[in-house]
Symmetry: C2
Subunit: 276 residues, 2 copies
């Protein structure tokens, strides 16, 4: 792990990332030493930094450290954490913010291939997402809700939990964004009051698929999922997984899900080829 | 600082307290080596641990470390942080949770005496508290909302910001609970959807004052504060401060506020005397 450019695996207890969860993170797939969608991740990190009033990121420095860390990583997961550093009095931030920058590499998870090809089993979580427009979409370090939701089940046969907000709108998975397909249109939560605006979600919204099938960001409920033709979840590490079973309802990994999986795989291979 | 019984000032980057804000904290006044309301703080820490599914705390161990740390501290602030430790896969907690326990001492803040005697100036924050009943009341490490609210002002002349939830109910200060007095009755937020259930707030609710003046936990709005006879904020470090100015409205530190300040001061002196 690289902490402000130095190899170490600890952080000051006084760091506001630890004291208050006062920071942001990114989780990035690294394939054959190439961080996938790197510029999109850095762009989100910049945007989120602005939203929570962190100083402007030194993207050149970040890119160079990422390159250093990933040059021999093969397939891995790169996590970037940016915090507001130490200092300040209680919640009040210091006048001179010196952010802490942490890059760490993890082994790429060994998900079974059939999650991708046959789909996964998901459940509906009881833990709800709180509503807060000023923080909605931001990938900040306050993730107790996700921890509580993920603690609801232990069965290895269930791969993801779907979370609602307190108005019973379906928002996202504990670690993914959620889309469903109904009558050749795609739907996903607008994430205006809660949730994380994922990079793969954004890529889907802007992908060629939208020329063939309309994509709507609109509030929806569990019953819309139960009655869907296809459901899939996505994030930067898993890519896109169809849902084959949600509570008692069964689905197949449908045509649109497969088309998106293929397009995403092509995009990743293109990025790897460009960098090698 | 004591981390799991060892003196150090760093924490593993992998600690879930840092990765997700997956933990709890307590902030305790230490007066003449005596942690004030210690049993109440430990009780809340135990209750909150149960609510977020942390293993049962070893209170004997905690008490002994607190005693060790505070034996020559004089007046100070003791902060306890308990996290879910390291491990697990993403948000999923490890099967065998080994919590991290951090005790740290800080100098007691040098607040001017007139904050206590004449009251403070407060503002209304734009940053709202998100609603989440399962986390309401818990003093967990996810505090980005408070950081955002505290970042709204820089004026040294303003001591506290009052936060509303997204339904415009008044909930608390950025670092305090809020009460107001109207026609010889006290009112405070029920904290059922958000906010932190403070130790001084609880002490007030159970104090003798309730035999003289009824205390209501009920939703209220800014206009109720603006039209109040007295307003005060409280926490374990500041004790009780009257508000003398809130936006354009002026108040005096009234009879009930002063009575509570006196009763709280007596209680603290009693606790110090008992332990020395």
């Amino acid at each position: 792990m690289l902490v402000n450019g130095e190899y170490k695996d600890t952080i000051a207890i006084m760091d506001r990332g630890f004291q208050y969860g006062d920071g942001l993170f990114e989780t990035i797939e690294v394939r054959q030493n190439t961080p996938i969608f790197l510029e999109q991740h850095l762009q989100r990190l910049s945007n989120d930094s602005r939203r929570i009033h962190l100083p402007m990121l030194d993207l050149e420095l970040l890119r160079s450290e990422i390159k250093q860390l990933c040059q021999n990583s093969g397939n891995a997961v790169l996590k970037i954490i940016i915090t507001r550093g130490s200092g300040g009095r209680g919640y009040r931030q210091p006048d001179d913010i010196q952010p802490t920058r942490i890059l760490s590499l993890y082994p790429f998870p060994d998900y079974p291939q059939n999650y991708y090809s046959d789909g996964i089993v998901a459940r509906i979580c009881d833990t709800r997402l709180g509503l807060n427009p000023i923080l909605a979409g931001i990938k900040h370090l306050n993730r107790v809700e996700q921890v509580m939701a993920r603690a609801e089940w232990n069965e290895a046969t269930i791969q993801e939990g779907i979370m609602l907000d307190i108005n019973r709108h379906v928002i996202e998975g504990t670690m993914t964004n959620v889309f469903y397909v109904k009558k050749k249109a795609l739907y996903t939560s607008p994430l205006k009051d809660c949730g994380i605006a994922g990079i793969i979600r954004s890529w889907i919204m802007e992908s060629q698929i939208r020329l063939l099938f309309p994509i709507f960001e609109q509030d929806f409920f569990i019953d819309d999922l139960f009655g869907a033709d296809e459901i899939f979840v996505c994030n930067s590490v898993i890519g896109i997984w169809g849902i084959r079973k949600l509570e008692k309802h069964r689905y197949t990994v449908g045509k649109i899900t497969k088309q998106l999986q293929l397009a995403l795989e092509n995009e990743k291979q293109k990025q790897v080829a460009l960098c090698n």
